[in-house]
């Protein structure tokens, strides 16, 4: 019996080691595809006259920016002001106040001279009732919708009902879009108007950066190590995976913080689902599902240049809630669309992207965590040999370090947003150090998400915001 148990432990340990090498090789491939795309992006010279001409053309498709806000009094005025100053020929900013309990609505009313307007709201999508719609007496394209608290997904559906333009850009009200972000994100829609239905921009960490008048004026690495680890994580997620998946039209996630969509496509799929905590991923997967079912020739694109700056949590408790929510969202989405997994009808999406997400993103934390437990138990009771255990820890460490360091290097090789040598060295150190505890912590939190999903699937959890360049405050 003991021998059987020992051979099971050794077999499982070897399986996890193989799994870790497989995932690091796949990630390396994704990073390489991303690298090739980014190098093209960096060295392909573009005529500056083109973007100048597009910026002033009446033929550019107008955009409705949808910004749901829940207790965002720390940043809301600054964020909205920055949105209104974006460089784009025609757009409107639609802020959806999701039943905030703080001063969000009052601040907006005072700052932008809002009045209760009779603006018509359609009912294409089922959503919570609107209390009031406000517009500014000043000639600025700002609409503020006030409604009871019903969650982010429902708020976005309300925004979609009110939005007037053919493209909708979803942003977090506490994020900062770069001045030319809309112009750059809209380019794929102009270059390939028949096929593009959604575009994802890149989300970068604003902690540590200097923000003046709603603009990031100096890019810097954050001061806290927790935020630095997240810089590395964001680089890994956006520059590696998403660019590579986008190259094969298999992009499954467009961050809720910044995405540009065809409104017609969103209405065709019924808008956002309100019964999931990962509404951003679920929507994109549903768009794929719908487009492939309808045999549409479509593209969902990732663009590395339009940048959205966001504040990441610097407290462990907030980070834990956020990561648990993301993981629950991933599990829910993959479960909802399980019919697409390994289904040849969905091409590469079904045969490669979906299995990758299920094996590595959904079950990855569970496999890794059980690997740690089995190895520790095996070592403790002298059931597995030290070589195997050592190899497991070595494999696990190399896998983590490889992915993180490679992402930082990719950033340095291509986009180079961090100007100083010191920044590069700090990020490289962070990418090594994060594998010595932080990543394992995330693995535990993400594995716990399975448990939380059964207990309390829909809870979003509170978010603590400091506000750009301000004192810390709670916006629960």
């Amino acid at each position: 019996m003991r021998e059987l148990f020992v051979s099971f432990l050794t077999w499982y340990d070897n399986l996890v080691i193989f799994y870790l090498f497989a995932i690091s090789t796949i990630y390396m491939m994704l990073l390489l595809v991303g690298c090739a795309a980014l190098l093209h992006h960096r060295f392909f010279r573009r005529d500056p006259e083109v973007s100048r001409a597009l910026e002033f053309s009446a033929l550019m498709p107008p955009i409705s920016i949808l910004a749901p806000a829940f207790n965002e009094s720390a940043n809301i005025c600054q964020s909205v002001r920055a949105m209104l100053l974006l460089r784009y020929p025609q757009f409107e900013v639609v802020v959806i106040n999701d039943g905030s309990k703080d001063e969000t609505l009052r601040l907006l009313i005072d700052e932008f001279h809002l009045y209760k307007s009779a603006r018509f709201s359609g009912h294409q999508l089922a959503s919570a009732p609107i209390r009031a719609i406000y517009e500014s007496v000043d000639p600025i394209p700002l609409v503020v919708i006030d409604k009871g608290n019903s969650g982010k997904a429902d708020s976005l559906n309300v925004g979609l009902n009110v939005a007037r333009y053919p493209l909708v850009c979803t942003v977090d009200a506490d994020s900062i879009l770069e001045e030319d972000a809309l112009l750059r994100a809209a380019l794929p829609f102009v270059e390939d108007p028949e096929r593009v239905i959604a575009v994802s921009g890149i989300v970068r960490v604003a902690n540590g950066c200097q923000v003046t008048a709603g603009r990031v004026v100096r890019v810097d690495v954050p001061r806290s190590w927790l935020a630095r680890f997240q810089v590395v994580e964001y680089l890994r997620a956006f520059l590696g995976g998403r660019i590579a998946f986008s190259s094969y039209n298999c992009l499954l996630v467009i961050s809720g913080a910044f995405g540009l969509f065809s409104k017609a496509a969103l209405l065709a799929v019924g808008g956002y689902h309100t019964d999931t905590v990962g509404e951003d991923m679920e929507l994109v997967v549903r768009l794929h599902h719908w487009a492939r079912r309808e045999h549409k020739n479509y593209r969902i694109v990732f663009e590395p240049e339009p940048v959205c700056w966001t504040e990441v949590p610097e407290a462990l408790s907030t980070l834990r809630r956020q990561r648990s929510r993301w993981q629950r969202g991933t599990i829910q989405t993959l479960w909802t669309h399980r019919g697409m997994i390994a289904n040849p009808r969905y091409g590469l999406l079904g045969l490669a992207a979906f299995p990758y997400y299920v094996l590595f993103e959904m079950f990855g934390p569970v496999v890794e965590l059980t690997g740690y437990l089995v190895t520790l138990v095996g070592l403790g009771f002298n059931l597995i040999n030290r070589d195997t255990a050592l190899l497991f820890f070595l494999g696990s460490l190399t896998y983590g370090v490889l992915l993180s360091v490679a992402s930082v290097l990719l950033e340095e090789l291509t986009l180079r947003r961090y100007p100083k040598v010191q920044d590069l060295l700090i990020l490289l150190t962070a990418s090594v150090v994060e594998s010595l505890g932080f990543r394992q912590l995330l693995t535990i939190w993400r594995a716990q998400a399975f448990w939380h999903l059964f207990r309390n699937g829909q809870a979003w959890g509170a978010m603590e915001r400091k506000g750009f360049g301000q004192r810390a405050r709670h916006t629960a």
Partner: protein, 393 residues
């Protein structure tokens, strides 16, 4: 490498690259595993080889990039100092001071920095100062360098040369025209932009002839470049509207929409009744800017009867923009039974601009039975009153 980057083979290369690297990676693991042949357990041997290959390649890459960053940062600092120095000299020169000799010397020693400053100065300066700075390109002899770059195979270098040469008051168009046959699309586009904005009527005509075949975004860009008083443009538009080719007509309508200036087009009923719904939509959208031989009332009535709601919407918008009061009763009637909120919105807005009793009719809709009609009427009336109030203020 640069040619590959701009060629149509890049996509294939991009897809093959990871496969090549994967093959190299596997080979490196196999070779490294040979070094660990003393390990009995095959699994451990290959796993260890995997760790070593990954670690070594990362270390090498990291060392290379950190070194590159250090060198690059220092080089950039030095370059920035040179740019600052040349900018100071350029500022003195443009304001009349005698710094020409030093500028020429700097241009010979650091041509790339000089050209960067020169380009920025031309964007900023006006009048005689600009002329003075512009002349520097000839005096330094760098114009010859740029002209020779126009026949370069590297698209990036050609693009750079075109973007600088187009800044001159009298750019050498014959040389730029040659770039229209360059294999890289990005260069051909840059040449088209320059010729559309500054070229001879013949060159402009050549660009305009190509317009319908170009992708939408390139048309959008070129429409912004062509001067409104270009004879080639007027001739092109006059011919384009009379062709039966939908693509040509659409391009011409897009041009009118992008410029939003009055454009004579002759008879237009064929466009109003085109079989292409896209042509009909764009025609009615552009109608306020089209001087046609036909009665616009007849055209708009036809548009309001169209089967497609988008065409009806644009007809309503055109009716409002042209302020044709006689259309008021018909628009009010259509507003009452509009099927799409966007169409209803445009009809209501049109009613606010028409004379006669259109305004009163619109007000009556605020007590209509249909909820959508009522809500849209209320919104449009509020907006109109707010607008009037602002004008009064």
């Amino acid at each position: 490498m640069a040619r590959l980057l701009y060629s149509r083979y890049w996509q294939t290369t991009q897809r093959l690259l990871p496969i090549i690297v994967l093959a190299l990676y596997v080979m490196s693991i196999l070779v490294t595993a040979l070094v660990f042949s003393w390990l009995d357990d095959q699994f451990v041997r290959y796993a260890l080889a995997c760790v070593v290959v990954q670690t070594v390649s990362l270390l090498l890459l990291t060392a290379g990039l950190v070194a590159g960053k250090i060198i690059g940062t220092r080089w950039n600092d030095r370059r920035q100092r040179r740019i600052d120095r040349i900018s100071d000299l350029m500022a003195q020169y443009s304001s009349g001071a005698e710094s020409q000799a030093q500028l020429l010397e700097a241009a010979h020693a650091h041509s790339s920095e000089f050209l960067e400053v020169w380009e920025a100065s031309l964007t900023r300066l006006k009048g005689s100062s600009r002329l003075r700075v512009e002349g520097l390109l000839h005096e330094t002899g760098l114009h010859r360098v740029l002209l020779s770059r126009l026949s370069d195979h590297d698209p990036g270098r050609v693009l750079f040369a075109i973007s600088l040469l187009r800044k001159l008051d009298n750019p050498i168009m014959e040389a730029i025209e040659k770039a229209l046959t360059h294999p890289a699309d990005v260069v051909r586009m840059a040449a088209r932009i320059t010729l559309a904005a500054r070229g001879s009527p013949q060159a402009q005509e050549r660009v305009l002839r190509e317009l319908p075949r170009l992708p939408f975004w390139q048309r959008v860009v070129l429409f912004q470049q062509i001067p409104g008083d270009s004879p080639a443009l007027h001739e092109y538009l006059a011919r384009a509207f009379q062709t039966g080719d939908d693509t040509t007509v659409l391009a011409a309508l897009e041009f009118v929409l992008s410029r939003q200036r009055l454009q004579p087009i002759g008879p237009a009923s064929r466009l109003a009744g085109s079989t292409s719904v896209e042509v009909r939509i764009k025609f009615f959208r552009a109608l306020p800017f089209l001087a046609t031989d036909e009665d616009p009332v007849v055209l708009i009535r036809r548009g309001l009867d169209d089967a497609d709601w988008r065409v009806r919407t644009m007809s309503a918008r055109a009716g409002g923009a042209l302020g044709i009061a006689s259309l008021g009763p018909l628009m009010a009637q259509r507003f009452a039974r509009a099927t799409h909120p966007v169409e209803a919105g445009h009809l209501a807005r049109a009613l606010t601009t028409l004379d006669g009793d259109s305004w009163r009719r619109l007000q009556e809709f605020t007590v209509a039975e249909n909820e959508v009609t009522r809500a849209i009427a209320a919104e449009v009336i509020e907006k109109h009153l707010a607008h009037v109030h602002q004008e009064v203020r």
